[in-house]
Amino acid sequence: MSENATALQARALARLETIWDNEQLEAWRVEYIGRKGAVNALFEQISALPHTERGAFGKTANELKLALEAAFNAKIGAIKQIELSKALEAEPLDVTLPGRRPSRGHIHPTIQTLQEIYKIFGEMGFQVYRTRQVETDIMNFQLLNIPPFHPARDNWSTFYVAGSDEKVLLRTHTSPGQIRAMRAAYPNPVRAILPGLCYRYEQVSARYEIQFNQVEGIVVGHNITFGNLKGTLTEFARRMFGERPVRFYGDHFPFTEPSAQMDVRCIICEGRGTDALCKYTGWLEILGSGMVHPQVLRNGGYDPNEWSGFAFGMGPERIAMLKHGITDIRNFWNNDLRFLEQF
């Protein structure tokens, strides 16, 4: 009988060797170790055996059963492994085909730049204060030391509102916000940026638009110096344009004195003066600034003998143009999706 078991084991294992799919494996299981399989048939023979042989036979049969089950389990693992390998090799994707892209919107580049400016100044304690766009001549000019017909008005070609008793206009700069911010804050110190649309009567070209954004900044305090102006704006330039030299030089605004222009080292030519972006000067004009004129402080409600301050103004479109190589300011208002979707 034990010979029988040995032969059965050899036959079963030899057969198992040749099996490489689950269907045949299942047939094998049924044939050998299933409920009505060959191994169980062996066990059924036990009752027919003499008592003395039953123990040894049973042991042999049990060993046979365990051996075949172990082989069976090993085979399951092996087949799974092979099937996994096959599955992993089947139908590889062309990973270079385009992915399924969700539609994503884009913030308008001017607004993105504004947000960046808010963030940088926000971290320096500046709050955003928005003020109105249709202004009086008094607010836009006169309280900023620009009386009617003053030569300084040449710099601000103005759209006037028809039919108003006092002169009403579209603000030509965000600077009237200086007065508004001061009047709102007095007697507290002021540290605010004033963003928004401004309007100038210009011939529209790649460089000039009749509508554009500006960001004004104003600081008023008890110990504010030109050194603070330089420190604050240098820090802004570092955050906005990276670590690069800046320079300040004399400029003129009727509402600040002294006044200074700030340039940063050209981001293309790095100061070599080889690029049209900086008009071959190696420097990019970024903003105008200055110490708030004593009369403007007074107009805002502050005593210039007690308080001092600085103000500055910059164009987010210009900054976006510099940072992204935009050569035509009209792009910002044309709203061509092919332009906007690149941001």
């Binding site: 607004i111 204060y129 249709v134 006092e166 110096t225 004399g250 080889t274 004593p294």
Partner: protein
């Protein structure tokens, strides 16, 4: 302003290379915008890009003199010329110049030898060529006498340049005629620098030099209003603080000498004749505009008597023909120079034609006067007469600077026009210039500039700028600006002068240590940013458009002109522009949507899918009593500027790709879904929607968005007729416009979230048949109300019409999710809750339960 460096050197020695000088001037506030090199090479350390223009080789291009001009053997129009240029042998060449004739000799010309780099005189524009030896009609020619075009001086190529008789033969042309011209931007506060002398003063201050003034320069000279040759009366000293005149007799009107013409040209003015050129020359050189009258014309108008000049405001309706030939009418704010017969000039702006200098003029009355700059600017703008003179007057000229430049002009008329100067000065000076005295302390310097300067340092800086300085106290300087400056009025001005000369770059950068103001943030802006971010996430593109519009353009939104004007259709008088740039930009918008439609239309030329939004202000003429955030009392009549949000969708939801994608066209529910999600993101708990007809919208596809009972805007499918007005393709265009401020007023950063249950949910689907007239929102509202706390969610997953439903019925299928927070909900309890819902729906809206089961 153009400043030829050769002219600048009349007044000051230049101790720095041009680029360094230009940088110094720029840093001090006198921006040098351009440096033009005429015939001379740019400084070596500059980039090639700056080296525009031609360099006249010093070993090839010379001042030369014509020895003889001989006929060309083979061509009538050509000549063979021999010129001397200092070399042992003269140069010989062929020329076709029409201003050289056979037999000529002695003219001074410009000679270019073989190998010279020039502009090609025969080609359009500026094309370089190198002069080569060639045969011209059989005669060898290796050199050339040059035209202005060939040397890059002008486009003139009719004849060759004839130099002045005193031009030094053999001198390289670059030495004789080369120059550098600076273009200087004059800010309004630099009125004093609007002349070569003014720039020279700045150069002197910045480089430690002194300016050279003409020997006759005297800013103290005064005369009398009544003289033997003219009497001067001034009606209003504020309009004309000073009026003076000199008489130059026996002038000969002729062209100015070459050097003077050259200077005018390089400074950007055209030469006319010697007398006119001299007035312009003095204006450009010394900053004082002058006017030359034909004195005999004035005498004729005075019937042979002594002319009486009266400077006075114009009378209403008064007229004069100006020397540009135009008859002009004046207002009471215009200043006229008049005589017994009426106006002879608009003060400071333009003379009258009757008394202008002509070729026949023999005696010149030279006017030098000071006018109120505001009045000048106003008249200049009204009469549309901008000029170099008006620009200078319009920025203010101190009265002390009135006589000395006139003396320079008179001397030039003597030297260049053979005139005789009448020594007497006619001068009415009723309003003498005041000179301020300003105290500046070391504390001022420290407090505003943030630096420590000693009094001696301050004094040194200010003296370089010709300020008179005393030190009345230990820490105070008492300063008086020079008489040629009218722009220094207070301490701030003096501080600006100090920092300009000290150097902005030397002031240390220091971060602020000052107390921070109370930080309040800007809630409205932050909420707006949140709304923007949500819309971006949902695939909408932000645009920013013009605030300008045309009322007719906005009116096109409503296809029926008599339609009721309701939000967002324009409802108020427009804020209109007095001086619009075009009819299309003549008013400020009252609605954002027309711009979105414009932008959609322009983009649909190159794409099919457009999904846009804009956040921006509209402008509404204010009704009495209306206010807005940030108003000051004086703003009560200014327009309201509310913020709006507008959206637009059209085209496929997605552009087709190689994969299966939902490319169905955007419809009403796409827009509504975006609004719902926006509401969820902003936590607008009371957001709801209702059908609402609107003239611009498709009647059956229009709705309003509400928060609670308040309407915040309308949306829906654009009316087909409106769509046609924008020439949009025949596809659904979904639009909406909302009052952003109303929406954001309902957002609350402190929203409360719902707890999440740890127990399993029971999901049940129900399908209900209801009448077509029952709105989905009503059904859902009843479901939610009745389901109470156990109903976790109710989601509509199917809407069906058609067989087997009878006409007039629709089937709505919902997935109901029941869940308890504190225990496992049994199927039986969920079933009870569901039955309660169904019963209520049956009772209140006649719904019929057709199917139910586990979800």
């Amino acid at each position: 302003m153009k400043v030829p460096v050769s002219w600048l050197q009349d007044f000051v020695d230049l101790t720095l290379p041009i680029p360094e000088l230009a940088e110094k001037l720029t840093f001090a506030g006198l921006e040098v915008e351009d440096i033009e090199y005429i015939g001379v090479p740019p400084a070596s350390n500059e980039q090639d890009a700056n080296a525009k223009g031609l360099v006249w080789a010093r070993d090839k291009i010379f001042v030369a003199q014509l020895i003889e001009a001989l006929p060309h053997p083979n061509a009538d129009r050509l000549k063979i010329v021999r010129v001397a240029y200092g070399a042992s042998a003269p140069a010989e060449m062929v020329t076709g110049a029409p201003n050289i004739n056979v037999g000529d000799s002695g003219q001074k010309v410009v000679l270019a030898l073989e190998g010279s780099r020039l502009y090609d005189g025969h080609k359009e524009g500026r094309v370089f060529m190198t002069l080569k030896k060639s045969k011209i009609r059989g005669v060898e020619s290796a050199a050339m006498v040059c035209s202005e075009k060939e040397l890059g001086l002008s486009e003139e190529h009719e004849g060759i340049i004839i130099l002045p008789d005193d031009a030094p033969v053999g001198t390289p042309l670059a030495d004789y005629w080369g120059d550098v011209v600076l273009t200087v931007k004059i800010n309004p506060n630099f009125a004093r620098a609007q002349s070569v002398l003014g720039v020279a003063r700045e150069v002197a201050a910045l480089t430690g030099q002194r300016v050279r003034l003409p020997q006759t320069w005297d800013t103290q000279e005064r005369g009398a209003p009544e003289t033997a040759f003219v009497n001067i009366e001034i009606a209003d000293a504020r309009l004309c603080p000073r009026f003076a005149a000199l008489l130059i007799r026996g002038v000969k009107i002729k062209p100015s000498p070459q050097w003077l013409q050259q200077r005018l040209l390089r400074a950007g003015m055209r030469p006319i004749n010697n007398v006119v050129d001299i007035t312009n020359y003095v204006m450009l050189g010394y900053g004082k505009p002058l006017h030359a009258f034909d004195y005999d014309a004035l005498i004729a108008r005075a019937n042979g008597g002594v002319p009486k000049i009266l400077v006075r405001p114009a009378r209403a309706g008064e007229q004069m023909q100006t020397l540009d030939g135009q008859l002009r009418s004046f207002h009471a704010h215009d200043i006229l120079v008049t005589d017994a017969r009426g106006p002879v000039g608009i003060g400071g702006i333009m003379g009258g034609s009757e008394t202008e200098v002509s070729d026949a003029t023999q005696n010149v009355l030279l006017e030098s006067a000071i006018f109120d700059f505001i009045s000048i600017r106003r008249t200049t703008a009204e009469q549309k007469l901008p000029s170099e003179a008006a620009t200078r007057f319009g920025r203010g000229i101190p009265a002390s600077q009135n006589i000395a430049p006139a003396r320079v002009a008179a001397a030039l008329m003597r030297d260049l026009a053979d005139g005789t100067i009448e020594p007497t000065l006619a001068d009415n000076y009723p309003l003498p210039q005041t000179t301020p005295t300003i105290d500046v302390t070391r504390r001022d310097v420290k407090r505003i500039l943030g630096i420590e300067l000693t009094l001696a340092e301050m004094e040194q800086l200010l003296r370089a700028l010709d300020f008179a300085v005393t030190a009345p106290h230990a820490d105070t300087l008492r300063v008086t600006p020079p008489d040629y400056r009218a722009d220094v009025e207070g301490t701030a001005d003096v501080l600006e002068e100090l920092v300009r000369l000290y150097g902005f770059e030397k002031i240390p950068s220091v971060l602020m240590a000052d107390a921070l103001p109370p930080l309040e943030g800007n809630a409205a802006l932050e909420q707006e940013q949140t709304a923007r971010a949500i819309l971006i996430e949902m695939g909408l593109q932000e645009i920013v458009t013009y605030a300008f519009t045309q009322p007719a353009h906005e009116a096109r939104l409503a296809p029926n002109e008599r339609a009721e004007k309701i939000f967002p259709l324009p409802q108020r008088a427009y804020v209109s522009i007095e001086n619009p740039i075009s009819a299309e930009r003549s008013a400020l918008r009252q609605t954002l949507l027309p711009n979105l439609l414009d932008i959609a239309a322009s983009n649909l030329r190159h794409t099919k899918r457009v999904a846009l939004f804009e956040i921006g202000s509209v402008f509404l003429t204010r009704h009495a009593g209306e206010t807005q955030v940030g108003d000051l009392p004086e703003d009560a009549s200014l327009p309201l500027e509310p913020r709006r949000l507008a959206l637009l969708l059209t085209g496929p939801r997605a552009l087709p790709t190689w994969q299966t994608t939902d490319v169905a066209p955007f419809d009403f529910y796409d827009l509504k879904g975006i609004l719902e999600e926006l509401g969820a993101g902003l936590h607008l708990d009371e957001l709801n929607f209702a059908a609402r007809a609107h003239p611009m919208l498709h009647p059956g596809r229009a709705a309003e968005m509400r928060i609670g009972a308040e309407s915040v805007g309308v949306f829906g499918e654009l009316h087909p007729l409106t769509r046609e007005k924008w020439a949009l393709p025949a596809q659904a265009v979904l639009v909406g416009e909302f009052d952003l401020e109303k929406i954001l007023a309902h957002t609350d950063a402190r929203f409360i979230i719902q707890p999440i249950s740890r127990y399993p949910a029971v999901v049940q689907d129900i399908a209900l048949w209801v009448d077509e007239s029952i709105e989905g929102a009503r059904v859902e509202q009843l479901i939610r109300q009745t389901g109470g706390a156990l109903l976790r969610d109710a989601r509509l997953f199917d809407v069906y019409r058609g067989a087997p439903l009878p006409v007039g019925k629709k089937s709505l299928a919902y997935t109901l999710t029941f869940q308890a927070l504190d225990h496992v909900l049994s199927d039986a309890d969920a079933g009870k809750a569901r039955d309660k819902i169904v019963n209520r729906l049956t009772r209140e809206i006649g719904a019929e339960l057709r199917r139910s089961g586990a979800g």
